[in-house]
């Protein structure tokens, strides 16, 4: 399940809804990305997330489908916010539930790694020196590359 929204989200409530009444779930892994007040040596006062409505949902849905194909997931959720955010604010939530913990962990990392290189979002930071667009990081490409094989993962 995927959602793109301006509003904040409630990790506890989202996860509860995701796992409710499914005793096949043995492990639930979640990741929340937050706005930091620093980027390298520069302080960040606020951030704006721009996105490409339509393509964003399409890419997130594809990434989510891929995770379900690769791992034996009982449920998954991706929420990504857009708009203006302050330091400490939540940006993204990825949650995966599986009978086995290893599958939950791997699928969760896969989703956030792919999302960071495939989903059309762009961050603009407000610093004391003015606004600037965040540049893509090579380490994010490397993280996504780990999952480049199309083979089905072990359960």
């Amino acid at each position: 399940m995927i959602r793109v929204q301006r509003e904040d989200f409630d990790l506890g409530a989202e996860v509860k809804a995701l796992t409710a009444r499914n005793p096949r779930i043995g492990g639930l892994c979640s990741f929340v990305g937050l706005v930091r007040d620093m980027h390298g040596d520069d302080s960040v006062r606020a951030m704006t997330l721009e996105h490409y409505p339509g393509m964003t949902e399409k890419m997130l849905q594809r990434i989510d489908d891929e995770a379900h194909w690769r791992w034996p997931l009982e449920a998954s959720l991706v929420i990504h916010r857009h708009g203006r955010l302050d330091p400490g604010d939540q940006i993204v939530l990825v949650a995966t539930a599986s009978p086995h913990r290893q599958a939950a962990f791997e699928a969760c990392q896969f989703l956030i790694d792919w999302l960071k290189t495939q989903a059309p979002f762009w961050k603009k930071e407000e610093t004391p020196e003015g606004e600037r667009w965040v540049e893509a990081r090579e380490s994010d490409d490397a993280a996504a590359e780990r999952w480049a094989g199309t083979g089905k993962a072990a359960g």
Binding site: K58, I91, P120, A136
Partner: protein, 83 residues
């Protein structure tokens, strides 16, 4: 054909979205970028470094040789930085 610009490509071109009818010779992504580059100094600046640009055709990532045609939705943007 609708052309969308995001992030600093929008800032540099000064436009978020434009409805265009390129001439018959514009049949690929690369040819479209060459044609767009000449539209204004802002377009020229935005499109100067092709390695810094990602392209989507009808909301799918595309490469320079991929075809473009009337009615397509083309988007130009920098490498993504969400998450």
């Amino acid at each position: 054909m609708k052309v969308l610009y995001f992030a600093w490509l929008k800032t540099k071109t000064g436009v978020g979205e434009e409805e265009l009818s390129p001439p018959a010779g514009v049949a690929t992504v690369a040819q479209l970028l060459d044609w767009l580059e000449a539209r204004s100094p802002g377009h020229g600046e935005a499109l100067a470094d092709r390695h810094a640009i990602r392209i989507a055709v009808n909301q799918e990532y595309a490469r320079p040789g991929d075809p473009v045609k009337a009615g397509d939705e083309i988007a130009l943007f920098p490498p993504v930085t969400g998450g």
